[in-house]
Symmetry: C2
Subunit: 575 residues, 2 copies
Amino acid sequence: MRLSATDLEHGYALACQTVVEGDLEVFVPAQEEITRHLTTEKTAAKVALPFDYDWRTHQTVAKYFVEIPPPDLADNTDDLARLERELARHYDLRDLDAPLAVLRTLAHTLREADWRVTVVIDKSPQRPRLLDVLPGDQMQALYGAAVDIGTTTVTVYLVDLFSGDVVETAADYNGQIKRGEDVISRIVYASKNGTGLMELQSLVAMTVNKLVERCAHRRQIEPREIYKMAIVGNSTMMHILLGLPPEQIRLTPYITTVNQPPQVLATELNLNIHPLATVDSLPGVASFMGADITAGVLSSGTCSSDKVTLFLDIGTNGEMVFGTSEWLVSCACSAGPAFEGAGVFHGMRATTGAIEEVWINAKTYEPSIRVIGGGKPRGLCGSGLISLIAEMFITGVTDKAGSINLTLPTKRVRQGEHGAEYVIAWAEESDTGQDIVITKPDVDNLLRAKAAIYAGYVTLAHSVGMTLNDVEQMLIGGSFGQYLNIEKAIEIGLLPDLPWERFKFLGNTAARGAYMALLRKDARDEIAEIAKKMTYLELAADNAFTDQFMAAMFLPHTDMTQFPSVEKVLEGEEQ
Amino acid sequence: MRLSATDLEHGYALACQTVVEGDLEVFVPAQEEITRHLTTEKTAAKVALPFDYDWRTHQTVAKYFVEIPPPDLADNTDDLARLERELARHYDLRDLDAPLAVLRTLAHTLREADWRVTVVIDKSPQRPRLLDVLPGDQMQALYGAAVDIGTTTVTVYLVDLFSGDVVETAADYNGQIKRGEDVISRIVYASKNGTGLMELQSLVAMTVNKLVERCAHRRQIEPREIYKMAIVGNSTMMHILLGLPPEQIRLTPYITTVNQPPQVLATELNLNIHPLATVDSLPGVASFMGADITAGVLSSGTCSSDKVTLFLDIGTNGEMVFGTSEWLVSCACSAGPAFEGAGVFHGMRATTGAIEEVWINAKTYEPSIRVIGGGKPRGLCGSGLISLIAEMFITGVTDKAGSINLTLPTKRVRQGEHGAEYVIAWAEESDTGQDIVITKPDVDNLLRAKAAIYAGYVTLAHSVGMTLNDVEQMLIGGSFGQYLNIEKAIEIGLLPDLPWERFKFLGNTAARGAYMALLRKDARDEIAEIAKKMTYLELAADNAFTDQFMAAMFLPHTDMTQFPSVEKVLEGEEQ
């Protein structure tokens, strides 16, 4: 990390380099405090039912009301067999797996309820599993939950499994964040001592539990009324959730313990829904191609399209899939969390106070900004950074290589502590009382991130003998995508230079894929099929990728013929 | 309970009627202390392999050694899939259920063991379950355990699942004894408060664990090397082991929660073998016809015999099965634990100091006795009581009704605190320093017990239109049976009056049935078949039984034509 002379003068020191010699008070700068409710939760549109749905035919979890003839001396069949007899008679259900937890209360429930009960059955195991026996008629509702565990954000959909509707949604930061911002730092933390893994497991389980409780509370139900959960996440998040050591994920040759995790019971993961609820961790493909992407390929329609499709999920990592309904090829780029504001001097997450859009006057080099929440700015979030760099490039504040032109006739460009920098907001305009700047190292970080992603596109296309011009539609998932300005993303070379109508922003494709898998067994099977048929390119072993990466380390690219629209804009500026 | 005037004089009081007003010391009379090692354990003959056995074809648990090609960038399949690939290739094993506990150590074990591992697979679930992945070649042995949970005694066989041999046995009192001697008192204890059931569960689990550890220690293995357990017991013992409330078992119409309990994992019952080991609770038929009997029907050969067979398992309860390979009918008699010495004034269990055989001189009425361990007597165990009552009856110390003849010319008969009694050992000959006697109430207790059992035989035979003369063989299980004297048991009317060669004493048929089910899947399936096809007569609802019971309340029976051999003996005595 970098501390400026001014910082040092003000008494700043690097915590990681400092020995604590006595009591001390710790202040966390305001910008790092986590705003409780993410904007995604507040602004989430109602999630529409993505397909036909009839719980009787599509759903693996079901409820049945039965009235059982009470026993007498002439008919002394045991309680379970009596129940099974009626379920076979009326619903053709046979050979149930009856867990001990259900059997332990069965005698009492049957008699308490006067032999009228509602049973909850999970038909997903090879033997249908008796999840619960509830007193009386409780056919009014049946719940499940779809969960997306992002490295940064966890999202929960509470779903009415009878109607198929998402009835509540909630999202919040992954509780693991305090143990590292990105996947690699989580793996390191999980691997470094005996309890790190289980601590991270517990942190994410607590996050999921908190969100489930929030949804349940709003719906006025108990979390234990949730009888099924489908979960997606990248392979590291899934490993940690399942308590599987993730360390091999970051070590060559990058091997997961399992890409298609077994279904487990909620109680095994300390998830506070019904303890016997099946938790279905959807399948991934490789260490850096997880269930969030296979689920996204399904929900985005990539896998069912006749068009040549480029699907990009841009979050803390950048994963992309190239293909049609016939074939799929994928890769992951360690873009790092630069687009989430990390590794950028005044970067921050997309919460209140973040600059999300910038315009620079080509004559005066004065910026106009839009700030989330409308108040004074505190820093720049991902979309703000893309917007800023595009504007700086188009207006000549930087050149193709990202070098800031210090000769411009404006005080906005200057030599700062970390090299050349551009001032977006003066101290008196900012919420922090400091100048908000972007520095040359920041620009370099973002260049590396966007170059990795662009090189990924090209490598994928080349791997199947195509070019990016063959892309008939580009589907963009991830909450970040929702705020992306296509024009500016093309200008910096983060998106390929395609006609704008070919881009579609789909929001949280991962969560929606989990939701689809939660509802319909055939959708769940399709994700497994996607995981099976998708080819994964390991870029770490790919020289062609390295070449493409180097070529993309410019604004927008070394090869301007790949960005004709940007060339035109630049020509326009020059006139 | 009964306290004599002498007892009161000596300061005895009933603990249940006494208020403790200060500190007190409790002395437990020597006779009630549990001798650590039961005689059954010390004298157990080597258990022979009961049938052909080849683990590769018969056993559901198996071990396989595999060498796995290590991953590289070109072959980055996940760890589990790599393992499964080799298991499919070499052993045709597919679609494994991989529990989290195994997955959590898989990455480490594979690498630590340099990709050479021994896997343990349980093929009994519908999907074969991966129980363990052990480093290196560990094909030298594979263990299982067969367990018989008696109300009084728990028996464990440690079995080498490769050879099929019982390599160690251990037995001890069921730890639940301190919460009640018989099934009914255990049910009452389990039902009376919130923790009674789980306390009893824990007590029996601790007993099993102790015995398993004892076997494992002698074999120099770890308990977690035991990968399978088959358990039998009466329905109450099975309910308590599984943590199922047993209270409906004793309430009309006597309904169990489940007669065919699900297979569970050892960890669910706090059994300290391998946590993922399948614990197979064998199926029973009804509240008072448990897995100990269905297992005994198999191991005794009752279910495979062409002969009309009467199978009796006499332990704390008395259960019996009448049938052939074609049909089976059964009933249970609440004989109570009289034959284990309970409810008899000087009764005791069959341990050191128990009188196990008595002869009475027909002229002098002086007894000769044989004492377990050879020392001074402390009381009478079951076989001793049967022997004593038979001798008293044959020599005229009692009449047919069990009344003691006080007019005999001997000091041995006298009026005691509890009515007429006969002195077996004078105070100076006994270990307790007190006269050892049998009283009229004791005789009545034993009469009731034997009458219930005999009435059971007759009721069963009548239920299929037969009489006891049709019995072609009588098979007697239960450790008690091992010490039974046929002649004397017939003389008191406990056994039917059949030619002696028709009786066979088989020892612990329940444990042996569990052992057979542990070894061979088809034997396990046969027990389930037995449980399904066996008709159970509920005697509580049977007037014919009550009539038979009343008729059998005499020595040996009201109807002497049913006991011609005893009639002959009596005629001989009279000459």
